[in-house]
């Protein structure tokens, strides 16, 4: 749901201060009606990383001069820190991860960070009462070697960690027969995690595992509830799913690019910013009682080794064939991990039909979709955790046709 007052203020500030938006947004935007916002907002040109990198100075407000950015870069260079603060001005420069290319600098004031951080803690506290100083950021890139036994010793109540690192901790804990003391919440941040993976880690670490989906540019986009569903964080951002023609997707099940507008940031506004991540809406109301829309992310960024193909695109089509053409649909979830150039592990969760029918159907569909028959698939059933999935999708979607 769009917050009209926040959008009006954001667009007004962007129009007045940020060159890219000066001619794009009407002058009297702060005085227009809600209905006019509904008309104007979807016409604002979406942005993305490439556009910003190419024309950076047009995306920051006039008071952020080149000299400030250069100084931030220098401080980062000598300090090797994630962000740099310009003395006295409470302006923070944070670098994007660069996972899809060269990182760029995002700009936030301390006040903006306060509002964004507070929104995030509100979400965490819906699950469990945790305070910022009880959390440990295992993703901090300045910590090159986090020892799992340090985590045990220090007794943090919350870990912020990505799945890859968490899997390493799990192995270490298993090998050394350790268990974390006082740990209440593990928050996955910065990596794709399925609901099944969350449940499996919950069982292993005996604590709540939550999923925080956001980006350096805008911070929180969605946060998981007690039922592990990702609810949009609508207090601080307006989130849309856009199709390949930048048209808004409103129906459930249809995959689109997550596009975020941060209500909070004015020095470097992100308005209709395409994150590059794919997601779809889940139909119906979440059983947790929160009426805010739920999205499910699609791990689109993993390529099949030895090719330039995104695994998700291909395995989505294989699943579609399985369900719609071969009528094989007696399972809850399938995820795929590539174990070698030509080898894949297929993990099936909640299968209640014939295994041989499912396996032969999957292999047949894969041959047709990939147009090659040298890929080998090894099937596993109800494996507790599969990391680095190149594809994962539930079979309970209401309308599979939308996935085409």
């Amino acid at each position: 749901m769009i917050r009209y007052d926040k959008v009006r203020k954001l667009l007004k500030d962007a129009r007045d201060e940020v060159p890219f938006y000066t001619n794009m947004i009407p002058e009297q935007i702060d005085k227009v009606s809600d209905k006019e916002i509904d008309h104007i907002f979807p016409q604002i040109h979406p942005t993305d990383k490439n556009l910003i990198r190419k024309d950076y100075s047009r995306f920051v407000c006039n008071q952020i001069c080149d000299e400030m950015v250069k100084r931030a870069e220098y401080e980062r260079h000598i300090g090797r820190t994630e962000y740099a603060r310009i003395d006295g001005s409470h302006i923070y420069f944070e670098y994007t991860s660069g996972s899809s290319g060269t990182p760029f600098i995002t700009v936030k004031t301390m006040n903006e960070r306060l509002v964004l951080a507070k929104a995030l803690w509100k979400e965490r506290n819906k699950l469990i009462c945790i305070k910022p100083n009880e959390a440990f950021n295992c993703n901090d890139s300045s910590l090159h070697s986090i020892e799992a036994d340090d985590l045990v010793r220090n007794g943090y109540k919350m870990w912020m960690v990505n799945v890859n690192r968490l899997e390493k901790f799990k192995k270490y804990f298993m090998m050394n027969n350790l268990s974390p003391v006082g740990l209440s919440l593990i928050e996955n941040a910065g990596s794709f995690i399925t609901i099944e993976e969350q449940l499996a880690y919950e069982k292993f670490f005996n604590c709540i595992v939550s999923n925080y989906y956001g980006c350096t540019e805008t911070w929180g986009i969605a946060y998981s509830c007690g039922n592990k569903e990702l609810h949009l964080m609508e207090d601080t951002a307006h989130i849309e799913l856009l199709d390949e023609n930048d048209k808004i997707i409103s129906e459930c099940g249809r995959v689109g690019t997550v596009t975020v507008t941060s209500y909070v940031q004015s020095l470097m506004p992100f308005i209709r910013y395409k994150t590059g991540d794919l997601a779809y809406y889940i139909p119906g109301k979440c059983q947790c009682g929160n009426p805010v829309k739920v999205i499910r992310l699609v791990p689109n960024r993993n390529m099949i080794k030895g090719t330039n193909m995104y695994g998700n695109n291909y395995f989505r089509n294989i699943l579609l064939k399985l369900i719609t053409e071969y009528k094989i649909n007696k399972f809850k979830n399938i995820s795929v991990v590539q174990t070698g150039l030509l080898d894949f592990d297929v993990n099936v969760i909640g299968n209640f039909g014939s295994k041989s029918v499912l396996e032969s159907g999957f292999v047949k569909a894969a041959k047709l979709v990939f147009e090659r028959d040298d890929y080998e698939f090894v099937f596993h059933y109800d494996e507790p955790v599969v990391t680095k999935s190149i594809f994962s999708l539930s079979a309970d979607l209401c309308n599979m046709e939308h996935l085409i």
Partner: protein
């Protein structure tokens, strides 16, 4: 402002910023300038104050200039608490 109310605020500040000496917190204290409080420290203080007093900081108050100076923070807390009391009274009516 009542003494107990201020003591509770100061205790929370001390709980979030180790080097703070409760006795030295006064109307001139600025949490950022005097104790190098980071945005995480400030969020911690806000979350703790909300839990302690059963209030919620409105977004327009989430400004460093309203939270870092102790004098301003205490007066905002008083205002928010009065609002809570007023709401409770309205509910009773």
């Amino acid at each position: 402002m009542c003494h107990d109310f201020e003591e509770r605020i100061k205790r929370i500040i001390k709980g979030c910023l180790d080097e703070v000496d409760i006795e030295k917190i006064n109307e001139e204290t600025n949490l950022v300038d005097d104790y190098n409080a980071t945005s995480i420290d400030i969020v911690q203080i806000i979350v703790d104050l909300e839990n302690e007093f059963g209030i919620e900081f409105p977004e327009e108050y989430l400004l460093i200039e309203k939270i870092a100076p102790y004098k301003v923070l205490a007066s905002i807390m008083e205002e928010l608490l009065l609002g809570v009391v007023r709401e409770a009274k309205d509910d009773q009516i």
